[in-house]
């Protein structure tokens, strides 16, 4: 584990990913100091091009776009990280249980996993979100997590099956440890890097799904997130009026945060898989 961390620190992709995540975390924490105005206050001339007062211009209802993008970092980052974590926990629960117990339990869980794997996520997310009448951040997180856990579950299951018959596991079983303890306290710590890689993959999926959902107006359109900034830009035809900073900036931020998660995912894979390691 220490070796993995050391190798990760020397990996350029990991360093890049970490740096971006750090910068966005700082922006999210310092949003009240970085944003020049209240992101929801409609107090300026509408549809202004970028200027010294409004770096990215103003929205059609006279809000400062730069302040919106800064504040939006908070919501988007939190949704990405929290959803990534919840999705990973769901994947672990299903994947590890299936892989450890095998037999009928595995058959049932694997079938459910495979079904969720092939049912396309975004259309499912869209119809669930369309039915939910309470709009907010929590439903968005819930919907994305419930549709996104299957891939991780499959990965964890196969990893569990390779560890299942190791001596230390047999020893723990013989000593009479509770199965849950064997799974989560004995075996799980041996796949920390896999869990971390999966977490970043899930966070990437969450950030992109959230953006898509909010862009369609299925999130809370009154909240300030990168996705809703894009939604309002599209709804007010920012494109037609040549207000490109309005839609270019939040999208670029989504892509950058997504890339950071993808880089971390890829770097962990590169560091822990000896075959992918650079020679």
């Amino acid at each position: 584990m220490v070796n993995t961390l050391r190798a990760l620190l020397q990996n350029r992709k990991a360093a890049f990913g970490m740096a971006i995540i750090l910068v966005f975390t700082l922006i999210a924490v310092l949003a009240p100091f970085l944003a020049p105005y209240d992101p929801t206050a409609m107090q300026f001339a509408p549809s202004q091009p970028p200027s010294a007062e409004h770096w990215l211009g103003t929205t059609a209802s006279g809000q400062d776009i730069f302040s919106q993008v800064v504040w939006g970092t908070r919501a988007s980052l939190v949704v990405g990280l929290v959803t990534g974590a919840i999705t990973t926990v769901l994947s672990l629960l299903v994947g590890l249980t299936a892989g450890y117990f095998g037999g009928i339990i595995d058959d049932i869980l694997s079938t459910v996993t495979n079904i969720f794997l092939v049912i396309p996520g975004l259309p499912l997310i869209i119809i669930i979100a369309a039915y939910i009448t309470v709009k907010g951040t929590a439903p968005v997180i819930f919907v994305i997590a419930i549709t996104g856990w299957a891939w991780g579950a499959r990965v964890f299951r196969s990893q569990m099956m390779t560890l299942r018959n190791r001596d230390f596991v047999q020893a723990a079983v013989v000593v009479g440890e509770h199965p849950l303890r064997v799974i989560f306290a004995e075996i799980m710590p041996n796949m920390l890097s896999l869990i971390a890689a999966n977490f970043f993959g899930a966070a990437l999926y969450a950030v992109l799904s959230e953006a898509g959902l909010e862009f369609l107006g299925l999130g809370n359109v009154n909240a300030v997130t990168w996705g809703t900034v894009l939604y309002w830009a599209q709804n007010n035809q920012a494109l037609m009026f040549g207000q490109w900073p309005w839609f270019a900036t939040p999208g670029l931020f989504i892509a950058l945060l997504g890339t950071a998660f993808a880089m971390m995912n890829f770097a962990i894979d590169e560091v822990t898989n000896p075959r992918l390691r650079k020679r």
Binding site: N114, I119, P120, P123, G212, G242, A262, D269
Partner: protein, 327 residues
């Protein structure tokens, strides 16, 4: 044969699960969401249409859940998805039928192109690993893979549609004049360029990364070193020895990736006002047209399931172990 049978069974079980999810979802939600929709369209729909909607969503019906479920299956299997409330009096099947060819054409073709381009680039990038060009591809692909499709679509549309004016900004063909034959085909292709480029650029990155990782793994196998030692031409080692084995996980990973790609492609249609299923879904969401939404969800799911099934069958030709049943 046993393998094909298992895949058919899986296809059926998954289709059943998707249909059941579709049935249960509106009934699970606190306060049936369809009531809002029906109230909204009251006065614009005939009483018969409203009654049909109530049956479809389980409002005011004095039937057991099981009877509703059986009834639901009977209707779906006969292709009866009810009436579309936003396109009333058109039925959902009519509305959806007009959108499907556009999506199958655009999304189907671009998905295949993206898979081919991404996989070929992945092979090349792994073969030339540890060179500048081979390794520089990776961060670029990671970035492209993390771009929201619809955002790339917006940028492409703004630049090439509005600023430069090279390509049309909406629709699937020129609707201002009557076109037929070759002129119509040319117009359709011309209108498809921007959405197609958007989808290919965003989707190819993921396939590239998958293929590259598989390929790098395979290239460290002993039999590759042996092939080199035998003095085989590098091309032959690259494609016939390495890529042929490395592509297998790309096929099995197809299941997850295809859903993601199609989801993104649907959002791309919205940006370009392309009259396909994605754009229709957007309109259905905007106008709370639940019957239409349900039918679109089912159509996309079935399309993805069939695509997966085809990939599974192709796998039989690629991997002889599956054919003989051995490991």
């Amino acid at each position: 044969m046993k393998y094909v049978l298992r895949r058919v069974l899986f296809l059926l079980v998954t289709a059943w699960a998707a249909l059941t999810i579709n049935f249960i979802l509106p009934r699970l939600m606190p306060g049936n969401p369809a009531e809002v929709m029906i109230a909204k369209f009251q006065g614009r729909l005939t009483p018969q249409a409203i009654h049909a909607l109530e049956i479809a969503f389980g409002i005011n019906v004095h039937q057991s859940l099981w009877a509703q479920y059986v009834d639901y299956f009977r209707r779906i299997l006969t292709g009866d998805f009810g009436v579309s409330v936003s396109y009333f009096p058109a039925t959902v099947s009519q509305v959806l039928g007009q959108a499907i060819p556009w999506t199958v054409g655009l999304v189907g073709v671009t998905t295949v192109i993206a898979f081919a381009v991404g996989t070929l680039l992945g092979i090349g990038s792994a073969w030339k690993r540890n060179t500048l060009a081979g390794d520089a591809v990776v961060p670029v692909a990671l970035f492209l893979n993390s771009i929201p499709y619809f955002w790339l679509g917006l940028l492409v549309l703004y630049l090439f549609g509005f600023v430069l004016g090279w390509f049309p900004i909406s629709n699937a063909y020129d609707t201002s004049t009557q076109l037929s034959g070759l002129a119509l085909a040319a117009s359709i292709l011309y209108h498809a360029v921007l959405p197609a480029v958007t989808i290919i650029i965003s989707a190819a990155g993921g396939w590239l990364l998958t293929m590259r990782n598989n390929m790098v793994s395979v290239l460290s196998e002993d039999y590759i070193a042996f092939a080199h030692a035998k003095g085989l031409p590098p091309r032959q080692v690259e494609y016939r020895y390495a890529a042929r084995n490395a592509i297998l996980p790309s096929f099995t990973g197809f299941a997850m990736a295809i859903g993601f790609v199609i989801g993104g492609a649907l959002l791309t249609e919205i940006i370009f006002s392309y009259p396909g299923v994605g754009y229709l879904l957007y309109q259905a969401v905007q106008s709370l047209d639940y019957p239409l939404m349900q039918a679109i969800f089912l159509f996309i799911t079935v399309a993805v399931l069939v695509a997966n099934f085809v990939m599974d069958l192709l796998y039989v030709f690629l991997d002889p172990r599956v054919r003989t049943g051995g490991e």
